[in-house]
Symmetry: C3
């Protein structure tokens, strides 16, 4: 029977220690013990909070937090212990790592793990119960492969990369270092390639692979297909939410963020530092330059060559009202033409 190591309950930190870590200016008690983080409204004594959105400023007066991370502009709005920083949200992010009690997903090689003889598993890598590491796979230093994961033939998992339970990596996938894949992620499944022969579909076997850079995070149930000939490419620092589909031969530029439910079709290229909102669709074979933002549930049907924000869709309304307007959508072209006719009647000489 398995005995996992205990949850890593973080030791309390003093405000002074935290101030050093953040290079923050501490105004208050450096010895005050902090055991965790919380929102301004939820915080109890012993917890540290933060203000990053001025809409929550009003909660400063009543918060029970033992300290608050603040921008200097708001220093006078709070009388308790303050950690002053230029970017409170980023400071909170940095501290979240310290107070995280997320357990390791694996420690050592579990006896119930199934590791091929010729797989190369680094001494410091860990494989959990019922994970399966196939022939020729390589698991680098510090990597953790969670329960029930599958790592296919010749696939490479980089240093310190963590796969949560039940992730499936096919053969011929390369994953960089310090990546984090959530449960049920699939990488390397066949791209959706088929040629019609007049009667049925003939499968186009996907001969490429997937190459994922460093510091990439993939959300639960996200799927990344292998390429048809060349590889599907995910750049360094890319962050992808849950239930995102990345088709074969897509290329995602470094540090791009893709929110839940988005769907990127084959051979699309997304630049660096893009942000695709939830449920965004991107059709195949188009390109988005760097620094493109797309709003939720929009469909990108043509290449975007200028940075900026892009949208499609219609506003939400009461159904009965919406229906009356929606019916008119089918008449838009006619309405436009009829308008033009009226305009000509007003100015017949034009």
């Amino acid at each position: 029977m398995l005995k996992s190591p205990p949850s890593e309950t973080p030791a309390p930190q003093t405000l002074g220690e935290l101030a050093n870590l953040l290079q923050a200016e501490l105004v208050g008690d450096a010895e005050c013990q902090i055991s965790g983080l919380a929102t301004l409204t939820d915080a109890k004594p012993g917890q540290l909070s933060f203000l990053s959105n001025k809409h929550y400023r009003k909660y400063l007066v009543s918060t029970q937090a033992s300290g608050v991370i603040l921008h200097p502009d708001f220093a006078n709005d709070y009388t308790g212990n303050k950690l002053l920083v230029a970017n409170p949200y980023l400071a909170y992010a940095k501290l979240s790592a310290i107070f995280s009690h997320a357990p390791r997903v694996a420690s050592g090689i579990h006896p119930d793990a199934s590791v091929a003889e010729d797989a190369k598993v680094h001494l410091s890598a860990s494989i959990a119960a019922n994970a399966v590491i196939d022939s020729g796979a390589e698991i680098a230093a510090g990597a953790q492969i969670g329960a029930g994961c599958f790592v296919g033939q010749n696939t490479i998992v980089g240093a310190d990369t963590v796969l949560h339970a039940n992730v499936s990596l096919y053969h011929g996938v390369v994953v960089g270092s310090a990546c984090l894949f959530h449960s049920q992620v699939v990488v390397g499944s066949d791209g959706f390639g088929f040629a019609p022969d007049g009667k049925k579909w003939v499968k186009i076997h996907q001969l490429g692979g997937v190459v994922i850079g460093d510091h990439v995070e993939l959300g639960a149930c996200t799927t990344i297909d292998r390429g048809a000939l060349a590889d599907t490419l995910i750049g360094d620092g890319v962050i992808i939410d849950n239930q995102v589909q990345i088709a074969h031969n897509v290329q995602i530029g470094a540090n791009t963020a893709i929110a839940a439910g988005a769907c990127i079709a084959g051979s699309a290229r997304i630049g660096e530092n893009c942000t695709l909102s939830g449920m965004v669709g991107v059709v195949g074979h188009i390109s988005l330059v760097d620094n493109v933002h797309v709003t939720a549930l929009s469909l990108v049907t043509k290449s975007i060559t200028t940075p900026g924000s892009y949208s499609s869709g219609t506003p939400i309304d009461e159904t009965a009202l919406w229906r009356k307007n929606a019916v008119r959508y089918g008449q838009l072209n006619s309405l436009a033409q009829r308008l033009k006719v009226l305009e000509k009647l007003q100015a017949p000489s034009e």
Copy 2:
């Protein structure tokens, strides 16, 4: 080798027994044996059917069913054995439980299950082959954990809750009683929290958990993220279809129903008894009151404060026609302004 218990083939019931169960008025043969349920058109002798939608009334005359569940208003439309009830659809639902032959997902503790020494598994709970129960997890009375599931550290699975094969529950998740999670569900993955530092994304470790009430059903491949600080909350009796994404710190009120493909962004609050149709998107940080209905593929971009039905989107049309109208969408503001100009020309004094 595993030998599962046999499928639970339900024993035949007599119409009299079923009438008692439903508190229905039986008009006909109480001794008639019923071995299963079927639609009016598919039913064979020995099967029981029902009429809940009057469009199917025409099938009463030709059905081969041995009996039909009916509203009294339709009693004269059918000459066979009748079970008269006020709500035939609800009666059918109740009987579906009796005629279900779905097997248990686990019986006893399978020798190939991997259970941490300090996990607490109730005597009457069952864990299937290759499921992994991590340190400190608690599996309550009557719960069934299916093949290949992962239950993370300190996670609690309530009484009689069933997890189908390959479900992944992270650490620090609380699941109530009598819940049903379908295969590939993920609960407790990290919310999509990242702070930009000017060059890259800094991960915000998600310190909250997930709390799921009683009688909650989650469909296949549905994902529920853990909260950033506070917990993500799913109320009692909530029913969620397949491939639904629930982001961190979402709160879903009791008895709300969410259909397939919907996507609820972070910190959104959905009231009680709401119904979100398929592929509905809800943006973050908004609230929907109780009894809100949203139609399919709509995007809810602002809080809804009045019960009722809400929609966005455009109607389906032949592509060639649609394209002509869609092109005009980009001219809508201009058309509206030109219309106003024409109106002014008609009534210059206004």
Copy 3:
């Protein structure tokens, strides 16, 4: 420890052999050795490429490929070894099978597989580590069940069908021959059936199953629900991409293709040879005839009775411009009425 068979590295082929296979006219060196396929721009000597899209014609002059598959019309644009065929794309598809180095997902019965005593596993079928085959299931000749898969009670997996790692098939599912299911597929989960009782939802147990034909491919994280009473039906040759949801009692006709993220609601019927693009929604209880094409992110809300292409949605635009137009969508009905008023003013006698 597991020792998998080596990756099946395909042996080189000569152009002559490939020409025979394709029944292509070879113009060039029949003894030229080909070790793989590549795009025109990526190809290195020893690789074979193809031209199927005339936009890439310009790459013929500079390609380093050792040969190109071409339509005779383009024969004069390329001076190297040519394989002339009527349909280069189909020829490429056929050769992709030869050059595929995808390993088997299972070989033999792995000692860590968990197979019920009364399951019937053909001598030539293979079950990988930690797969679980439940009571009464049947695995036919040549089938391969990947690591961590679950095959439920009495479920039938047809000859030569391949399930990649971590697929979950519930009880009472029938899968035909030569099918390919990618990781995290779920077949046979409960359809989303619930009856309201005035206070809460009462579960409608799903008594039907799923029947999947021959030569069906299902993408990663695709989910197909079991029927309420009758079965959910997927026809022969159907190809379904990743993250597609097929609800209970849907029927998909032979050779229909469904792209990623699509969502088909309960009891919808899709004809044969249809093509549903990415993120298409189809509401319940409607029918599409054969040969219907639906464009991306469209919502089909009514039956389609004529073959052809159908669409809904609005075009992508810069957000600031889009917002001005989107606001007017809520005024469309009013605009139409105001236009009519103006028209009447112009022609008062009508």
